[in-house]
Amino acid sequence: MKRDARRAVILFLLPACVLYAVLFLYPVLSSLLLSLYDWDGFSRQRHFVGLGNFVRLLSDDPIFWIALKHNAYLLSVPTVIILAGALFFAAALTSGIHGARFFRITYFFPNVISMVAITLLWSFIYNPSFGLLNAVLKPFRHGSQPTVWLDPNHIMGSLVAPIVWCSLGFYLILFLAGMENIPSTFYDAAKVDGANTWQQFRSITLPLMWDVITVAVVFLVIGGLRIFDLIYVMALGYPNEQSQVIATYLYEQAFNNAHMGYGIAIAVVLFVLVFAATAIAMRLMRREQVEY
């Protein structure tokens, strides 16, 4: 390479590489190391405990398992609803009905709003004294007590709605693009063979969309594992055992309780879970490539 070119490469790459190495790779790698220590973050001393943090986390910490259970709920229930809803709406909007553009734009809109704002909006909707939801349900309640949507018995179910509400549009757009790529001749041929709508969906749309659906499942599972803003803000900064998830528990241990090593160990477990869930989802969804 000529000298001028080499200088240009170094100049172009340097800022990105330095920033990435210092502020991304270094903290990520030191997390892996620091998870092996007992450390409050402020004193000089760190006690090396080997895998002690992980052993305690997995065998002796009921809250971690409760948090994990909440994550499992929040990555499975909304995922099923979002996939079904987005596929249905995508099929509906590609069937040549009027107003498809209006519906697409409207449905996607909540995706651009900040999660904190969405959390506020839904905490208003669920509010027991002035909330929209109880006002909507009032005629159906026949005078019985209004539901307290964010009480311990209902909170997990109540968190599903804002998750679906704020992300369904994204998957709709994804599926619309996938469906528009399918040549219409396939459907014409199926119709000639007498296939009904459901059969067409099952044997043409679904197999040809499988890769896109896999991407969607991976996104949704990762999102469900990493969820933080919604839980943290809904609980006004102090999630309890009714709504604690891994990311909020990590934050609480590290920054509220000054258990830095332990908090980092939770972060490492979160990373492993994200990695494993992605691999499992890809594996379960693997099918033979359909060429078309």
Binding site: L13, V22, G96, I97, I105, E180, F271
Partner: protein, 285 residues
């Protein structure tokens, strides 16, 4: 849209009326809370608690004044605008430079560096959170915009470099080479020829980074502690916590409306580009 020619109708099994009822029903689920939010932001406390449906007797514009001035939404707004503008500009520039070098020059370590950036897409930001706090503190940048902005840049690099290098690969080699023959340096060729050509990809990446950073909460929560430096998501979350004690719900509704306005405006102007960006990013990725 080619779809209309397709005539693969969901309408037949469901009935066209039922299909429209479902579509309009979900549209109402999306829009109704927004409308409720809008008119409730003009009510006073008494009206808010009296009924969710009634419109305000007189619009209480003072809610907006309270939110903007007393609750500090105005300041948080400007803070967020500053942090987001600087971050997005720098991310776009730094990533474009790196993506250009990685796609246009062959040198030893090229692949390694590219995959090192790509690997960042798989890593949840929480994994870096705790050491990052101490690192930024050691750099003397805790509770400063510089610290927050540098972190935003670093964590946006994988996505942005991924998108931009995909685009640079599609551009013809000859243009940059022609400008080099004309006596441009590599830097001039990049700045005057390649960057303008890459504009569509730069804009798409910038929109996504804008939305991500404007709405970002966790890093800001950990790295910013001063009240006067809070970004909008921080300020808004704090306002919610404070309102539970101070009980000025009208101002909180008004604050939420103001927070949503720029995103609504950006979305209505850019929705075509946003949806196209999702499609390209996810289907190729």
């Amino acid at each position: 849209m080619a779809a209309s020619a397709r005539n693969r109708s969901l309408a037949r099994p469901l009935g066209l009326a039922a299909l429209y009822a479902i579509l309009l029903g979900y549209a109402a689920v999306v829009v109704l809370p927004m409308i409720w939010l809008l008119y409730t932001s003009l009510k006073n406390n008494r009206e808010i608690f009296a009924s969710a449906w009634k419109l305000p007797e007189v619009p209480h514009w003072e809610n907006f004044v309270h939110a903007w001035v007393r609750a500090g939404i105005g300041r948080y707004f400007l803070n967020s605008a500053l942090v987001t503008a600087i971050s997005v500009a720098l991310i776009t520039l730094v990533s474009a430079m790196a993506a250009y070098a990685l796609t246009r020059f062959s040198f030893r370590g090229n692949r390694v560096i590219f995959y090192a950036f790509l690997a960042g897409l798989m890593i949840p930001s929480q994994l870096a959170l705790v050491p990052l706090f101490f690192l930024v503190n050691a750099m003397g940048l805790l509770d400063t915009y510089a610290g927050l902005i540098l972190v935003y840049i670093a964590f946006s690099l994988p996505f942005t470099i991924f998108v931009l290098s995909g685009f640079f690969r599609t551009l013809p080699h000859e243009l940059a080479e022609a400008s080099l023959i004309d006596g441009c340096t590599h830097i001039q060729a990049f700045w005057r020829v390649m960057l303008p050509l890459a504009k569509p990809a730069l804009v798409t990446a910038a929109i996504f980074n804008f939305l991500g950073i404007w709405n970002e909460y966790l890093f800001a929560l950990v790295l910013i502690s001063s009240e006067r430096l809070r970004t909008l998501p921080l300020g808004l979350a704090n306002l919610l916590m404070v309102t539970h004690y101070e009980n000025d719900w009208g101002a909180l509704f008004a604050g939420l409306v103001m927070v949503m306005i720029p995103t609504v405006v950006a979305y209505s102007l850019l929705q075509g580009q946003i949806t196209k960006g999702i499609t390209v990013g996810a289907l190729k990725g």
